[in-house]
Symmetry: C2
Subunit: 204 residues, 2 copies
């Protein structure tokens, strides 16, 4: 009795969902009426009532366009993290951050603070497998000062690479996260673009 929408009700539900996502505005009863070609606005009202009874929407009485999807209501806050480019493949120093897409994800899953300034980079190549970061992964970086043993994105010779930020004898160094490159680069001389805070892998 909860989720068994009729075909027609599913159509109305899908319309509401689609329209509110694309336009950002929930349709009014009359917009529903006209979309489905109803001769009467009451038909739309009836469908809304039915959908509400079956728990898939909620309505706030007396307010205009006040149809709410309960699922989306108890959702965490969502942030849009811009993807700026590739690791070890570009992202010059002063490239003015040309966006190549976006990750939209709730802040809790990434453990982000609300005000954190973050961006993302696509990983190319197998150079970070030692840190369990694979080719094709998307790493999320925060723009802040690195702490000891953070993984950081550093700009070296015009290329961005991931290194671990280590402190030895009180001095900061960058250690490569790949045993093929046992470098130890003084951290003071380079530009650290961000600190790794999260990772998203698409394995499909």
């Amino acid at each position: 009795m909860k989720n068994t929408l009729t075909n027609r009700q599913q159509e109305v539900y899908d319309y509401l969902k689609r329209e509110s996502r694309i336009t950002g505005v929930m349709p009014s009863t009359r917009e529903i009426q006209h979309f489905f070609g109803f001769a009467s606005q009451t038909a739309a009202m009836n469908h809304l009532r039915a959908l509400e009874k079956k728990q898939v929407i909620q309505r706030v009485p007396g307010k205009a366009r006040a149809v709410v999807f309960p699922d989306e209501l108890d959702r965490e806050e969502i942030v849009d993290i811009p993807i700026y480019g590739n690791i070890a493949a570009g992202m010059g120093q002063d490239v003015d951050h040309e966006k190549e897409g976006c990750i939209s994800i709730d802040i809790r899953s990434l453990g982000l603070k609300h005000n954190a300034r973050t961006f993302a980079l696509k990983v190319r190549g197998e150079s970070m497998v030692d840190a369990h970061i694979c080719d094709g992964d998307t790493v999320v970086l925060e723009f802040r000062e690195p702490r000891k043993n953070d993984v950081v994105a550093a700009l070296i010779d015009g290329e961005t690479t991931l290194k671990r930020y280590v402190v030895e004898n009180g001095k900061p160094f960058l250690r490569a996260e790949n045993e093929m490159f046992p470098d130890l680069i003084p951290a003071r001389e380079l530009i650290i673009q961000g600190v790794l805070v999260a990772l998203v892998r698409n394995a499909a």
Copy 2:
């Protein structure tokens, strides 16, 4: 001239964002008025006009509560993936899927299809590091038939573990993703709960 909101305008913007997220309904100009204690509804109108001029909101003329956030508009569709429990720590066979939270993420970042049936599990322990899956990672699994070399979640002795689904001599086997356990278990005898499609790591 774009992003330089005044303090008051930022307050109004935050109010709109917060209210629409929590209640699911965008405030009307009169609700804005009353929230801020304006004596006139025009004050709210003026602020909306200012915010629109500065590009942080859009409005649809003639429609009620039709304030839109442009950033959220060109966002991909977002799915809520329920987190059901831990890998190698529980999730009995017929546990009726008690939800322990949710990952909300756009479908494109995870490469999911719109209709895919997915769920997520928290990884406990270092047993999957060979597949570059670490303690604390959240794996996203799809409920479908495994293909060759997929990583699958299998129920063995009342525990869920990740294995690789391999086919040798035409017969399916599960191979442990940890060199400490070089098992090769006939796949026919077990319950495969899902196929790994994505992974989210919180490194912060």
